[in-house]
Symmetry: C2
Subunit: 339 residues, 2 copies
């Protein structure tokens, strides 16, 4: 593992000082054309490349942002990271990526790593904003950060999200308007996600407002969810749900599969709606009814805003983006078919 060429060697071989090389490489000051040519020649023959680490140490700026999401396997986060990465790249920033797998210890250690490596800022989605040690840790630093997806309750930091409770309320109300009364909710571990908590609040509120008692909130695991058994169980019997409200599209997809396998037709026998609006939901057959979060836009906004805070001292800001109800084919009216 031989050492890299350094600015010092280039300077020497080009017969100039390192300051001149630096100026030439960065276009940061006057350089005579003779000097520039001599330097360029050495550079191209030696494969010299300014050492970013040296620069970072000197300038105390890494031009790197730390990004922490629960998982890349849920397209909602992959899309958000896509948005972040593109926006960051456009502003001359790099992305240091970590995923937590919904594990709060990993959240903390990821943030710790980001801090050690002196990222200029962070964008993160934590399990539960209200009880996040990672956020608490961040609070002890002066690193600017943007919370993404998490409902924002406290002030003092930036965030971008949608109104999860309201969207869930609207979705479930729409189900009720279609005649459904026995509406179950499928949710990942509630303790794993404050979004799910908000969504179930919206669900319960919609039922309550219509004088309906909840059929039940079914908790299943998050990664590789297999709600099959629970659903099959719930689904047995005469009083089985006529509609399922799933806390995420990923869960909805599994739910549909489980229902179909147990002989149900969607949406004729039972309606299913999801939440998130992942792109692939549109391609399913039936396509998924859901509340669409503008994930990529959220990522773009988060990155742009963070960069503005870093570069221009812009102040903290909380953005609540509109969601959109996607009228998919996976829900329908309650009919005689439902007994």
């Amino acid at each position: 593992m031989k050492k890299d060429v350094t600015i010092k060697e280039v300077a020497q071989r080009a017969g100039v000082s390192i300051a001149t090389v630096s100026r030439a490489m960065n276009d940061s000051g006057p350089v005579s054309s003779e000097a520039r040519q001599a330097i360029l020649k050495v550079v191209s023959s030696s494969g010299f490349r300014l050492n970013g680490i040296g620069r970072q140490l000197k300038t105390a700026r890494s031009h790197t942002i730390g990004v922490l999401v629960p998982s890349l396997k849920n397209p909602i986060f992959a899309d958000a990271v896509t948005g972040i990465e593109h926006a960051a790249e456009q502003s001359g920033y790099r992305v240091l990526l970590a995923s937590s797998r919904y594990d709060t210890n990993k959240e903390v250690s990821a943030v710790e790593t980001f801090l050690i490596n002196r990222v200029d800022g962070l964008i993160l989605t934590v399990a539960d904003e209200k009880n996040s040690q990672a956020l608490q840790l961040l609070g002890t630093t002066k690193s600017p950060f943007v919370l993404m997806f998490n409902p924002c309750n406290q002030t003092g930091y930036s965030s971008v999200s949608i109104d999860n409770r309201l969207a869930a309320f609207e979705l479930v109300s729409a189900l009720i308007n279609r005649g459904h009364r026995r509406i179950a909710m499928i949710v990942g571990k509630l303790s794993d996600s404050d979004r799910s908590v908000e969504r179930s609040a919206g669900y319960e509120e919609a039922l309550r407002k219509n004088g309906i008692k909840p059929v039940g909130v079914i908790e299943v695991g998050f990664e590789n969810p297999d709600p099959g058994t629970q659903i099959a169980e719930l689904n047995r019997g005469l009083r089985s749900p006529t509609a399922y409200f799933c806390s995420t599209d990923m869960l909805a997809i599994s739910t549909i599969r489980a229902l179909v396998q147990s002989g149900k037709k969607i949406p004729d026998d039972v309606s299913v709606v999801g939440f998130d609006g992942i792109t692939i939901g549109e391609c399913l057959i039936p396509s998924l009814a859901t509340a669409v979060q503008p994930a990529e836009e959220m990522g773009v906004w988060a990155a742009r805003h963070l960069v503005a805070r870093i570069d221009k001292g812009e102040s903290v800001s909380n953005l609540v983006l509109p969601y959109r109800i996607r009228q998919g084919e996976s829900w329908g009216r309650l009919t005689a078919n439902h007994l």
Copy 2:
């Protein structure tokens, strides 16, 4: 933007030298318990955290690997990155992420960025291994890297992939064995991906071997593919394909949607098979027949191997992992139904 606490201040306030602080923080040498306690006190009261940049400069090691994939929106890459990230984290490495959007210029600039920031190694998927400027650039450096997904033709670097041609051949042969003769192939821009080129070679080989002439290879865009129109067109008329071989699962999903919308039943009227084996394909209805690439494993292997090369000087290695044919519900026998 106030400056961080530095090791120098900690040393001063603890009444020791910076060398002792360094030893204490890193457990890298003897430190008396009095010294340690004094240091710990200052550290916790000041929120001191060793500056990774300073360390990187001194040690000439970043413990960072650069990861470049075409897009995170295709779950195949999201899964691979997931594997990389977890394996890297376990070995004490961080991930600097970039995506190319299948743009070779971005491939080059991403690699350039990685090099400037002195990543210890790289893992990448390029559009076309044979004509990659990014790879060429890497060749001029001594940075270890691992190619992922790309078929490996040259030697001199590490890679992990599957045999795309063979898998495609097997898939299309299976279609033929099911009685299909009019088999079309749907592919993203061929110039965008050497995998697609391999896969279409496998497709053509299977047809040739059975004395069948290709119905046609239909090129569509990669991101947000909407092959609807082309397929609708191809699908008109009596001699329309009875089976579609799609170069990726994402394409297959769009294709199924387009076919269903034009009134076809899958697999009764027409069979569709994909390629990649993204998880969600199993949840579709009908579930997707496809060749499964072990994407996450590939990521894990790539990361572990890269780290071994970096840390233990392990030598270059090319791994071809087995693929697996997933017997989905989206294909069937040719019947009278097909005219």
